[in-house]
């Protein structure tokens, strides 16, 4: 069904579609869906087409700018689900919850929601995080290739379409596209996350070392957040998943 096809009812729209929409909302810093991180404490869809989402975070003092982004993105994602007629997205147990919830409900920007307290630097921050996600994604795609014995020269000559069509590759492609970087099958596998220029053989060891470090940082932060959230609530969120990497190989 298409948006606006039916206005009085929501035939066909299911809760799972709303949850799927929330799967597209990422913690900007960790580059993981709010669902898998356990941040969605409740999600309901009423008969009248109103979706109600409650979000929670690992601490009372989690950075309010990122919290704002997640609440606003969740609102946008949920309200765009065909058949959802209204959305209420509420952040709970956070020192700035009132300002954030009010700002998002009023469709005001972050700076407007924290009058006199905040400056509009969020887009820049978000772009910086996506560049890091590109580096982390590069490590995810390249590590198996290096393990197979591919040489730096080979990696530098590969195109995105040359590597196995894994979820990691598509995630990398999506982040590159988001930044306007080359993302087609013909594009080089390794590009500078700022300029989009191909990474040459000489610069490649450092590029890969940075990529690995960036991925370690992102995943370690996700690990800390999961641990804190678990301690704070002790309950599973909607669509929550464990950090499988950690679970598989250590436990």
């Amino acid at each position: 069904m298409t948006a606006g096809a039916t206005q009085e009812a929501t035939p066909g729209t299911t809760l799972s579609e709303v949850l799927a929409a929330l799967d597209t909302v990422r913690d900007p810093e960790i580059d993981e869906p709010v669902t898998s991180l356990g941040f969605v404490s409740a999600c309901t869809l009423a008969d009248d087409g109103t979706a109600r989402v409650r979000l929670r975070l690992p601490t009372y003092f989690c950075a309010p700018n990122f919290a704002f982004l997640m609440v606003a993105d969740a609102y946008d994602a949920v309200v765009a689900v065909p058949g959802v007629r209204a959305a209420e997205v509420v952040l709970e147990d956070h020192f700035a919850a009132e300002a954030i919830n009010g700002g998002v409900a009023a469709r005001a920007g972050f700076a407007d929601s924290f009058v006199g307290l905040a400056e509009g630097e969020l887009d820049e921050l978000r772009t910086g995080f996506v560049r890091k996600a590109v580096l982390a994604g590069t490590d995810r795609v390249c590590r198996p290739l290096i393990a197979e014995g591919r040489t730096p020269e080979e990696l530098a000559s590969l195109r995105l379409g040359d590597v196995p069509p894994t979820a990691d590759r598509e995630r990398l492609r999506a982040r590159r596209a988001e930044l306007g970087l080359p993302a087609s099958d013909d594009a080089p596998l390794l590009v500078d996350p700022t300029t989009g220029e191909p990474v040459g053989t000489e610069a490649l060891p450092k590029h890969l070392a940075r990529s690995r470090l960036t991925r370690v940082n992102l995943e370690a932060n996700g690990g800390i957040c999961r641990g804190m959230l678990q301690h704070r609530y002790g309950t599973r969120g909607e669509g929550q998943r464990d950090d499988m990497d950690e679970m598989e190989e250590v436990r």
Binding site: Y60, A209, T214, H231
Partner: protein
């Protein structure tokens, strides 16, 4: 001192606290922040082994006896460095002030090093207070919170001209060690509180000072590592790294340690328990037993007894001029806290 398998480790806890976050100390009208703050700290404790968890009441205010037992008697620590955190907007007598720490230190000579703090927004009055604290408590280190909000200001950076005045004053007063909090934030921010580029500038312009980045820039370890690799006088403060990861996320711990050893190097990493968030006992025992869990980590620098000696105590002992007993010194070659041993991997990094 800790001994295992015939090896002796001199332990300097370079980042710990003695706070009072009990409800009696909450500022009226600010209770939600005072409560939220200590609950947030308490949640971090949840990342340690279950048998080391405290009730929230105990966590809000532990006693002098608790501290002496947990840190020195049970925790193997030889010398502990107090790092103050004031937070007077929320806690009437402060959360963890130089005076509170200093009073305890005076009762136990030789056990503590009392660091103080400054904030460049306090102008000439702050400079006087800094000088007075150095004279009163003999401080040779400070703890700084660049992200702290104050009277409409949303934080400051070490690059600010006012901060340079304070750094110059530190040199005049004989302060050697600048611990900069670059980690989980202390107060709402719109600016990027985790930005570490200001440390880069200050470290270049004040080569005689040591800059210890506490919590290694979490959640921006990569930015910290890129910066630290270029600055010989920048160190990695491991508070939160061992406490937050070693038990709760062992694989990530191995990776984070591997990256720090690769980019920053074992001469430039210092142990801090972050007590009372985590007790030092399990951290020291676990770290001495620690090694990479599998072959998957073979790309990272190896760790041996001397690596652990440096990280647990010898590096910080060097920074603070603490005498180390003969039997706890390095068994092999090497100099703890050696600036010129920084791994300048900007050229020819390998993976």
């Amino acid at each position: 001192m800790y001994e295992k398998d015939g090896n002796k480790y001199f332990v300097v806890d370079s980042h710990m606290h003695y706070w009072d976050a009990s409800p009696q100390n909450w500022v009226a009208g600010q209770e939600q922040y005072a409560k939220g703050w200590i609950e947030c700290f308490h949640a971090y404790q949840g990342l340690g082994p279950p048998e080391t968890h405290w009730s929230i009441e105990h966590f809000q205010k532990y006693s002098e006896d608790d501290l002496m037992k947990d840190v020195f008697e049970d925790g193997y620590v030889d010398v502990a460095v107090f790092q103050p955190t004031y937070l007077k907007e929320w806690y009437a007598d402060g959360f963890n002030t130089t005076e509170r720490n200093g009073a305890l230190s005076e009762k136990h000579p030789g056990k503590f090093i009392v660091n103080t703090r400054w904030d460049p927004r306090e102008g000439s009055k702050g400079l006087e207070e800094l000088a007075a604290n150095v004279e009163r408590w003999g401080s040779i280190g400070v703890k700084l919170y660049t992200a702290e909000w104050r009277d409409g200001s949303r934080g400051w950076t070490l690059k600010d001209p006012e901060a340079y005045e304070y750094l110059q004053k530190c040199q005049e007063l004989g302060i050697k060690n600048i611990h900069v909090h670059k980690g989980p934030t202390i107060w709402p921010l719109d600016k990027d509180a985790f930005d570490v580029s200001d440390v880069d500038h200050a470290a270049t312009d004040f080569p005689e000072l040591n800059f210890i980045v506490e919590h290694v820039g979490l959640p921006r370890i990569e930015d910290f590592c890129f910066m630290a690799t270029q600055e010989p006088n920048v160190y990695a403060g491991l508070s939160v790294v061992i406490g937050g990861f070693m038990h709760a996320r062992p694989k990530f711990f191995a990776k984070v340690m591997g990256e720090l050893l690769f980019w920053v190097g074992e001469d430039k990493m210092t142990f801090g328990s972050d007590y009372g968030i985590w007790e030092p006992k399990w951290q020291v025992e676990g770290f001495v037993d620690w090694d990479y869990p599998s072959e998957e980590f073979s790309d990272y620098p190896r760790v041996n007894t001397d690596t652990k000696r440096k990280i647990l105590g010898l590096n910080a002992a060097k920074l603070y001029g603490i005498e180390v007993p003969e039997e706890c010194r390095l068994s092999g070659e090497g100099t703890p806290a050696a600036q010129d041993d920084a791994a300048l991997v900007t050229e020819g990094a390998t993976v």
